[in-house]
Amino acid sequence: MIWLELGLIGFVILAALYVAFARDVVGTIVTFAGLTLAIAVIWVLLAAPDVALIEAAVGAGVTSVLFLIALKRTTGISASGDDDETVSAAETANPTTDGGDVVTDSTETAGDGSGGFHPLNFPAALLVAALAIPLGYTFLSLDPIGETAAVATEYASGDTTPYAFYLENTLEDTGFPNAVVAVLVVYRGLDTLGELIVAFAAAVSILIVLKREDIL
């Protein structure tokens, strides 16, 4: 089982490096979807199936589709790889070969034939490393996975951390056992209402920006 987890973590790191450095935008989007799916499996292994479901559906499904739509609407590269009539001047000057040639201009050229990688940006890499160190230190202070007995003893000793409170009181307060849904709707319902107002406003804003009055 430890090999499955190590393989997943290695795949996530490699896929993240490819997403960060590759020039091929369509390949980057597909790789990002695969990375998100691997993270969803990691959530299942960490005993968080609710998060895994939303990660797989939103992260791997809808987000990739939106990325492909944005790519199609901006550069005219479709998901199937064939270009539209609008071919950029750089691609017309040197037609597509099987990778290898570095594109001279700094504009992003998507799609096939634009192989190679971006150069490493050292200040950004230093910033990311500086952010990773406190995150890793925080990870070391987390509790072990699935230690419900430890939570119960902690709650009994009077040291009421929030998750211990929710895990202990969900069943008698609401009558159902899923503490995640209880936190979302019962204990923290106002936050969920605010979230949904944000989503509603986003949909209305899309309609306003696209000027589709014929829908409503």
Binding site: P49, D50, L53, I54, A57, V58, G61, V62, V65, L66, I69, A70, K72, R73, S78, A79, S80, D82, D83, E85, V87, E91, T92, P95, T96, T97, D173, T174, G175, F176, P177, N178, V180, V181, A182, L184, V185, V186, G189, L190, T192, L193, L196, I197, A199, F200, A202, A203, I206, L207, L210, K211, R212, D214, I215, L216
Partner: protein
């Protein structure tokens, strides 16, 4: 699987192996046909040509396309694979049922309203990816889609503010004739309706015009 089993391709199109430039690809889409299949899979002009050399391709790119030719061009269908279309048509009911299951059983099992709503929305996104975005936008009723998230927001807001009257405070679920679990399930249905409507609307409305000209105002 023979060619006769594929009902997505009209017989005259597969007979000559090419496309009729005069044929309206969405002729039966405007006839109020409720079924999603029946859109002709038109291949773009570039796919018809044999593999040219690089010089010819560069010449083709520099030649300005004829305007009348563009006007007669059918809108590009995202995919033309009958395998993808058949798989999407078979999978969609199961995906929707799984989304409803996640929504209603989220109180006692892994799942919940957000998960169920997104899974239901991803069924429609799967249809849009398989059959093209513009046909899907014509097939869906935009008013029903907008009504979904208006209904979800109204239901959750109504439950939230009626808690002031029925119970002690806002979002108090204990004063209703239903149990707390059933009220939570009602709230979950509202959340799922809003989330699925928002996600389907975002994908379909943002993508409509992929492959042909968007009909909503000027291009961005």
């Amino acid at each position: 699987m023979t060619d006769d089993d594929i009902d997505d391709v009209p017989s005259d199109v597969e007979a000559d192996g090419g496309q009729d430039a005069d044929e309206e690809p969405f002729a039966d889409a405007s006839s109020g046909d409720e079924e999603i299949h029946g859109y002709a899979s038109e291949t773009p002009d570039d796919a018809e040509k044999p593999d040219l050399g690089a010089q010819d391709a560069a010449e083709d790119a520099t030649v300005k396309p004829d305007l009348e030719e563009i006007a007669d061009d059918p809108p590009t269908v995202v995919t033309q694979s009958p395998v993808v279309k058949t798989a999407a048509r078979m999978l969609t009911p199961f995906v929707v049922v799984f989304g409803i299951y996640l929504t209603l059983f989220g109180t006692s099992l892994p799942g919940g309203a957000f998960q169920g709503g997104v899974v239901m929305a991803s069924a429609i996104v799967l249809i849009a990816l398989s059959f093209g975005f513009e046909p899907t936008r014509q097939w869906l009723d935009g008013r029903a889609l907008a009504g979904l998230f208006v209904l979800g927001a109204g239901l959750f807001g109504g439950i939230a503010f009626s808690g002031i009257v029925v119970g002690d405070a806002m979002l108090d679920l204990e004063g209703y004739p239903l149990s707390v679990e059933d009220m939570v399930k009602l709230v979950e249905v509202a959340i799922a309706a809003l989330v699925s409507g928002v996600i389907v609307g975002a994908v379909i409305w943002l993508a409509s015009g992929v492959g042909d000209e968007p009909d909503g105002g000027e291009s961005l």
